[in-house]
Symmetry: C2
Subunit: 424 residues, 2 copies
């Protein structure tokens, strides 16, 4: 094949398209109930804007000079473009609640369910630094996935808590450390250790760090495990997390919550509570994160003239769809589909009538004979074929063939819509 | 402002987002009734693929080398990527009926309603060379726009008819000529004439050509006007067009049809019947084309190993939305929206109940006082505010303030959902 699609990209053909639209509709509807409104930004932004918070992200950006000499790059998430939107639209009353269902691009090595072009659904809650905002966003993420009947858990951490602990261990270079912790699962333990040493951690610091990032459980457990590391700041953050648990409980979602001190998120813009959602089986996480998010209080100020706190999350749509397929949580198509076989004008007149009552009505545009048409209906999974040749026309009827049961009935022409309507 | 969006692009903020989704839903639903299924392709393809049919299109393509040295370009339409999909998926039974609602990119000078990033809705009917296929696609385009109650006309032409006429006038270089005719409206008559001369047309040829491309009207009129130019081929094509009219009449859309020998379409891939849809006022076309399309029988063979005839159209979504705004053909948002003002946990519990019956329920995440909250509700056009402070809680009620009528009622807490449900 001479012409192929570009490496790391994929086509969405009809069967998948229906899933994407189903997922988009389900997620958007839920976000709307929470008071979020949809937005979409351009596929590309100036490269300077995209890399303002984190210059090293450039390695993952598809960027180029346009014909006017501008350096532009394809967006790698929607959080950064939305930060720009907030800066450009100071008139928007705070808090701003946005959701999106959009394509992103990252130049990374393609892997199973990781593409260079991919879709994300996400929300941003902008303007509030309160724990109520964190709770709202986490609860919305949970409700988004819960509606599909999936089994999952939200693993929550707090960058400020972790920073306070690191402070007590005299560990600095926290951003670098967070990046290393974030990709820990992708590294051999050898490589992980040597990267920790490379940023200057002593053997003792590494030992203590390793224990800390293995802490998991409910808030009481976390509090207990951190007993000997408690500073005033650590205490403070534990109280904030307790408040978070109380609010999530009010949202009816406490069971989904688990704290995990190894969760830090890869992007540098996170500043507070962060979380990742994994599918779980037998209480163990499976596969890659379906959803990730958290608080980013210092990002928008890069674009706006003032500090604007914010939090949000993004769901990986390809991963979600894969889970829906595995768990067979996909509703069946409800519309009736027919193929009409008659002369061109009769076909059109019949088609109009049937479409008028909400039936999908195809006609033959290939000039095929009956058996070729039936073959097409079969390949396309069209459940009903209407045959109305000269003979039937003279009798004022049409034959309706049920392709699944292999039965055929004669229906009077003026009863055709009624016949199909009662099948709906 | 230091950081801005890139020239020629735009953000879709909530009010507009709702319009895009409304238009997407309306158009997609109609295409589905005709038996079309949705598809989406990657934003970029290899540059070689994009320019295979027409190398000069490169001037309009955003293209670049990715980090792997591949020359890739952002798609400028979906017809070319879908041609690639058809070639890569020979198993798809013909005819294939696809629709899409997608973003495109073209590096052109931005103008009113012409952006460098824009949306198109379109369909492709692939595998049939019959006039029934042309009629289906034109009728679908008409139904797509008719559902919004717009006033418009479809201006139809036939490249084969025009070629047959040009043959009779001994005019060659037809592709070049079509390109010049297509941009005629954008050229001064001076520039138009000099371009015609530049491709070698004589004064006499130009004179005759000018008369031909001014021919407009119904099929009888066209036939009459071409009386002295009739060859066997011209006659043949006129008969095909008569058949087209008959079929469109069966679709109930003959009134929308007008033939116009100046319509040729700009892209080189068209080979037969082409059409453009314009909004009309007092029988005159207004603004730019809302929709354009036609037959392209030689495009897919570039990618596949065989000739596969096809026809389709694309609607410019920004132009359509502009028309909907002008004609006020936009349905109102039907959901009820409330802002809950109470303590954090009561707010959440109330929110859950209301969302459960389909009401959009926001809570305060800013820790604001009552008057600041009312101000926010006002700015956000939230029609109802629920107030449940200590006093109301003790009484087991909530105050519901109707922000539009300025009235306030007390509702028992357990009657709150019922109260709002009856407002729906």
């Amino acid at each position: 094949m001479k012409f192929k699609r570009v490496k790391g990209t994929f086509d969405i053909l009809p069967e998948e398209y229906r899933l994407y639209k189903y997922v988009e509709y389900s997620l958007s509807s839920l976000a709307e109930l929470y008071g979020y409104s949809g937005v979409e930004t351009p596929a590309f932004e100036s490269l300077e804007l995209l890399k303002a918070k984190n210059p090293s992200i450039v390695d993952q950006i598809y960027w180029f000079k346009d014909k006017g000499g501008r350096e532009i790059g394809l967006r790698f998430d929607l959080t950064v473009p939305i930060a720009r939107v907030i800066a450009e639209n100071p008139q928007l009353p705070k808090p701003v609640r946005f959701y999106y269902f959009s394509k992103m691009w990252r130049y990374e090595e393609p892997q199973k369910l990781r593409y260079r072009e991919f879709w994300q659904f996400g929300v941003e809650l902008i303007g509030s630094s309160s724990i109520q905002a964190d709770a709202e966003v986490i609860s919305l993420a949970i409700d988004c996935l819960r509606q599909f009947g999936l089994k999952f858990k939200v693993f929550v951490n707090d960058r400020i808590l972790l920073e306070s602990i690191l402070e007590r261990l005299s560990i600095h270079k926290r951003l670098e450390l967070f990046r290393i912790i974030d990709k820990r699962e992708k590294l051999s333990s050898q490589a992980f250790l040597s990267q920790l040493r490379a940023i200057g951690l002593s053997a003792q610091q590494i030992e203590r760090l390793m224990k800390i990032i293995e802490i998991r459980g409910d808030i009481e457990r976390i509090s207990m495990e951190l007993e000997d590391l408690k500073s005033k700041k650590v205490e403070e953050r534990l109280n904030v997390l307790k408040e978070l648990v109380k609010l999530i409980e009010a949202y009816g979602s406490k069971n989904y919550l688990e704290f995990d001190l190894s969760v830090v998120r890869g992007l540098d813009y996170y500043t507070g509570i962060v979380f990742e959602i994994f599918s779980v089986e037998d209480n163990k996480r499976v596969g890659n994160a379906i959803c990730g998010g958290g608080r980013y209080d210092n990002l928008i100020e890069i674009y706006a003239k003032q500090r604007i706190p914010a939090t949000g999350f993004a769901i990986g749509v390809e991963r979600l769809i894969e889970l829906l397929k595995q768990t067979k949580s996909i509703p069946k198509e409800k519309k009736i589909k027919v193929l009409i076989i008659s002369d061109p004008e009769t076909s059109i007149l019949m088609r109009r009538k049937l479409m008028g009552v909400g039936i999908i009505a195809l006609i033959d545009v290939m000039g095929r004979n009956l058996s070729k048409n039936l073959e097409f209906a079969d390949k396309q999974n069209i459940p009903y074929v209407i045959i109305c040749k000269e003979l039937e026309k003279q009798k004022g009827v049409a034959k309706v063939r049920d392709m699944i049961r292999g039965r055929e009935v004669e229906i009077e022409l003026d009863r055709l819509e009624t016949y199909f309507k009662q099948l709906l």
